[in-house]
């Protein structure tokens, strides 16, 4: 049935997908500024078109292992030098492109109802489609300057979208911070690219990799490497570049927060993987591995501890985003088969569960009008479907079985501990411990949200909250289903998606050869990494076993439903003395005068008390002053430059 999808035919799809998104961005503004039906149609057609075009590449690229090389305008290399813009799609950027198009599609569906109350939606969708097109282009391109252009479009669309609800407190400030930090990051990337171009006389990533070859890097290339590394670090919000993320995620419309955490910071992660694994082929150098692991570990710890201190739903999720990216970076930087697969898997899962959590946060904001944890409570009664979706997302991110977060985190623990035993380096065992503890803290943090938003007492002003419309629930259900499916059938995911993607990162020669012609890599002395993707990780999946478990849980649920409906469970009647305020409701135990609701931000009192020194320090560091944040970025970049020089000069 799909015979017409030959390689030569589908080769054009990625470019069409990117161009389609950009084109529709303008069409929305031209034709859809007044009429919402035209507007929505254009957006949905663009999002669904990109989704269909990219998913039709899954079979040739991921399953059959083809690499699609595409020269824009058929400008093929002249005497071995790439002169045109090339798109090169291997399993690695295919994997990220899949995440991107899924996010675009779901965010577009969600936006229709969620944004309906806002004005100037033409602008919103223009920016949204620009953002989508730029991120898709960023992950698909094989040309490093084209990548920079996409980064620029991405940054400025993100800034404008952050400030989109500019009547809301803090949104302009957030956009300003994003603008400053994002520009510093982009400038560093551009400087790196310029140095690289001066060195290699080409902008094609495959060719840069070939020209840099296997020999020692020149000081110019080292400087370029460090600057680009810092630039992509800013885009993926690893500590110390993370500061603007929290503000931006909090104040942007929630559909955009989901896009930020689902694909914008994944684009940064993709850039890092491509940069370190393929372009500079530096990942088997031990100090680089340790350096990246350190970054990842610090990121996950600082992210989660900052999240514990938050009392805004979306800001809390933002810090968890930072923390989870720390997991991804840690796993990816191990440079083992299991590690890279675990990192990619976690990146994918993060897109799913964090997207889901942002959508539920958006639903809460839509229904209740606030995301302040101290003002919410008891919404599970009013919004049961959203509450179920939230719980699925929360259990996934906390890594409880059988959700997807469990599978990927389990692979990460295993990969780090394996690295510790094979290298004999105790630091990696320490990383395993930190990863496990961060996971517990994540769980605790989400229990706090559960208590503060969905359980606990329903404040009087939220008595007539309604469940969100169906069109907002559909993306949530899709995300929830994906969270469960990728967790349960993780073997399938690993075999058909993660292993090809990991092999693509390890197989540098194939990447170079399919773009620049057979033998290019061999001529410049580049070899693949010694490791290859593995399929047989230690199994946690035994279908019969989980079927039995499922039966037990089903029986338990059945019992709950039965006991829930029987007449013995007597619900206490509301007495006449009760005021409207839930604070004085009738309870079985306790006296009315003793009642005081524990608000969300007080839940970790004991923990915060013991770590008050640390919290004081870390919260003081997050001063909210953009000068401080810019300073962090510059200092972080300087550190990276110094470290890179030290590494490459002395190995």
């Amino acid at each position: 049935m799909f015979d017409f999808l030959t390689i030569d035919f589908v080769r054009h799809f990625p470019v069409i997908a990117v161009m389609g998104l950009f084109l529709c961005a303008f069409l929305v503004e031209i034709f859809g500024a007044k009429n919402k039906y035209i507007r929505n149609t254009i957006v949905l057609v663009a999002a669904f078109g990109a989704f269909a075009l990219i998913t039709s590449l899954v079979k040739p690229v991921l399953f059959d292992g083809e690499i699609l090389a595409y020269w824009m305008g058929n400008w093929e290399p002249v005497s071995g030098y790439a002169i045109g813009i090339g798109y090169e799609i291997d399993a690695l950027n295919m994997f990220f492109a899949l995440l991107v198009v899924t996010t675009i599609l779901l965010a577009a569906i969600y936006s229709i109802k969620y944004m309906a109350r806002d004005h100037h939606l033409g602008h919103y969708y223009t920016l949204f489609l620009m953002l989508s097109g730029s991120v898709l282009g960023l992950v698909l391109t094989g040309d490093i300057f084209n990548m920079f252009v996409m980064i620029e479009i991405m940054t400025f669309a993100s800034v404008a979208l952050t400030a989109f609800r500019n009547n809301k407190f803090g949104s302009l400030e957030a956009a300003f911070k994003y603008l400053i930090i994002g520009s510093i990051g982009s400038s560093m990337t551009l400087a790196g690219i310029a140095l690289l171009y001066a060195q290699c006389h080409t902008l094609n990533m495959a060719q840069i990799s070939a020209v840099l070859g296997s020999g020692a890097l020149s000081p110019t290339s080292i400087c370029a490497f460090a600057l680009m590394f810092a630039g992509f670090g800013v885009k993926s919000y690893i500590v110390p570049f993370h500061a603007p993320a929290a503000d931006a995620y909090m104040t942007a419309p929630t559909s955009i927060s989901m896009v930020f955490s689902g694909m914008v910071n994944k684009a940064g992660v993709y850039g890092m993987i491509r940069l370190v694994y393929v372009i500079f082929r530096a990942m088997d150098i031990t100090p680089i591995q340790l350096f990246l692991v350190t970054f990842g570990t610090i990121t996950m710890f600082i992210g989660v501890t900052m999240a514990l201190a938050q009392h805004d739903f979306k800001r809390l999720l933002a810090f968890h985003s930072i923390s989870q990216i720390g997991y991804v970076i840690t796993a990816v930087s191990l440079c083992t088969a299991l590690g890279l697969e675990a990192g990619l898997f976690h990146a994918m899962n993060h897109t799913l569960f964090k997207g889901l959590l942002f959508l539920t946060a958006g639903a809460v904001l839509y229904a209740a009008g606030t995301t302040d944890l101290d003002k919410l409570g008891g919404l599970a009664k009013k919004m049961p479907k959203t509450a179920v979706c939230f719980l699925i997302g929360a259990f996934s991110i906390s890594g409880l079985p059988p959700f997807n977060g469990f599978a990927s985190k389990w692979m990460i623990y295993q990969a780090t501990f394996e690295k510790a035993t094979t290298t004999g380096n105790f630091a990696y065992a320490f990383v395993t411990v930190v990863a496990l503890v961060v996971s517990v803290m994540t769980l605790a943090s989400f229990i706090k949200v559960t208590q503060a938003v969905f359980f606990g007492q329903l404040p009087a002003n939220l008595r007539d909250v309604k469940e969100v419309p169906l069109l907002m629930r559909i993306p949530m259900w899709i995300m929830s289903a994906l969270c469960i499916l990728t967790g349960v059938f993780y073997n399938f995911v690993q075999q058909h998606i993660l292993v090809p993607a990991a092999n693509a990162a390890f197989g540098v020669t194939k990447y170079i050869d399919s773009m620049m012609g057979e033998g290019t890599a061999a001529a410049s002395g580049i070899s693949d990494y010694a490791v290859q993707g593995v399929e047989g990780i230690v199994s946690i999946w035994n279908p019969k076993l989980w079927l039995i478990l499922f039966a037990i849980v089903l029986i338990a649920v059945f019992i709950v439903i039965l006991t829930g409906d029987n007449t013995r469970g007597r619900v206490l009647e509301k007495s006449e003395e009760d005021s409207e305020d839930g604070k004085y409701a009738t309870f079985f135990g306790g006296e009315k005068s003793a009642h005081s609701h524990v608000s969300g931000s007080d839940l970790f009192w004991g923990f915060k008390h013991d770590f008050k020194g640390y919290f004081k320090f870390i919260q003081g560091m997050h001063s909210g002053v953009v000068n401080d944040y810019a300073l962090w970025v510059v200092v972080g970049a300087a550190l990276i430059v110094v470290f890179m020089f030290a590494t490459f000069m002395f190995i």
């Binding site: 019992i559 509301k574 309870f587 079985f588 135990g589």
Partner: protein
């Protein structure tokens, strides 16, 4: 077809009888009874009969269940069952008493680590769903307590996994048992002695007995998360606590005592093993729960947290470092 039926019956037997629901409930309630009796004798009281927790359980099952008006009914009633189910599932992963775990697979150590958090989470969700302010305070403490004991527990498990695996990984309880098969119990390894001590201190916190019962603290916040519970759900929570006593001590015996296997063939061998295992669990209960309970008064939550993240974590970390070096 016949195979499937036989397998189904067999698996149902594992879940319902041994080592599942029936066995673990009885063992847990008996341990709770022993705990109360010995505690009473330590305080020169006569104490209740050993079967008292069993009587209590059936008494509570027969009482009326009252649900607060503010409560989220499904979560309120569902929480104790979820906790109970996860505890039973842990039992199916534990290769105790020379008995091959029905669910024993590679990597079960991490699964158990995760499943152990679920009863605590269930307690938190249940308390939270009741909407009561006492429960609110209780769950906040339970959460901090969970973070407190999880860190040393993780390090203890890593040390044991490192010893059992040698150069490779051993996140499998069966490998840990096999490594101790020749009578070389891990408790006799000098590198692991700090880990044993740490584990003995983790057990009471995980179960939530005095002095680490900050979350329930009945004299202070009226049993915290349990304050609104009555009747059958309360009975389930009490049962869960009792089962946790058995599971934590049994986990200890798996990690450090080779799961108690006397090596006698035949069904009476298993029975004997189970009896010895129960005796070991009782001794451990008395050692790390009853004794400390009788000696100490309840800690404040911040003191408990500090204690676990300094003393107990240090013990576990010393063990991990020793294991790594030697």
């Amino acid at each position: 077809m016949l195979d499937i039926i036989i397998n189904t019956i067999k698996n149902a037997g594992f879940v319902l009888v041994f080592p599942g629901i029936l066995f673990v409930s009885i063992a847990g309630l008996l341990l709770a009874g022993i705990d109360r009796k010995v505690l009473a004798r330590m305080q020169k009281r006569k104490g209740p009969p050993i079967l008292q927790p069993v009587y209590d359980f059936f008494k509570l099952m027969g009482k009326e269940t009252i649900i607060p008006h503010e409560a989220n009914k499904t979560a309120f009633l569902g929480a104790p069952i979820v906790g109970f189910v996860s505890l039973v599932v842990i039992m199916l992963f534990l290769p105790i008493a020379g008995f091959e775990a029905p669910f024993g697979i590679e990597g079960d150590l991490v699964i158990i680590l995760y499943l152990l958090t679920i009863p605590a989470v269930a307690l938190i969700i249940g308390g939270s769903a009741s909407g009561s302010p006492f429960a609110g305070i209780g769950i906040s403490r339970e959460m901090v307590a969970m973070m407190a004991y999880e860190l040393p527990l993780v390090i203890v498990l890593l040390s044991v996994a490192k010893v059992a695996g040698g150069d490779s990984l051993a996140f499998s309880l069966n490998t840990i048992i096999d490594a101790q098969a020749g009578g070389e119990l891990f408790i006799t390894k000098w590198q692991l002695i700090p880990a044993v001590l740490a584990m003995l201190l983790v057990i009471p916190a995980e179960v939530g007995t005095q002095p680490f019962d900050v979350a329930e603290a009945e004299t202070e916040i009226c049993e915290g998360p349990l304050v609104e519970y009555s009747g059958a759900p309360l009975a389930m929570f009490k049962l869960n606590t009792a089962i946790k006593m058995f599971i934590m001590t049994a986990l200890f015996s798996v990690l450090f005592l080779g799961g108690i296997n006397l090596g006698i063939e035949g069904w009476y061998g298993i029975v004997l093993n189970v009896v010895v295992l129960f005796a070991a669990c009782a001794v451990l209960t008395i050692l790390c729960m009853t004794l400390i309970h009788a000696i100490c008064a309840r800690l404040k939550i911040e003191h408990m947290f500090k204690f676990y993240w300094t003393v107990v974590t240090a013990l576990a970390a010393i063990s991990l470092i020793l294991v790594w070096i030697f």
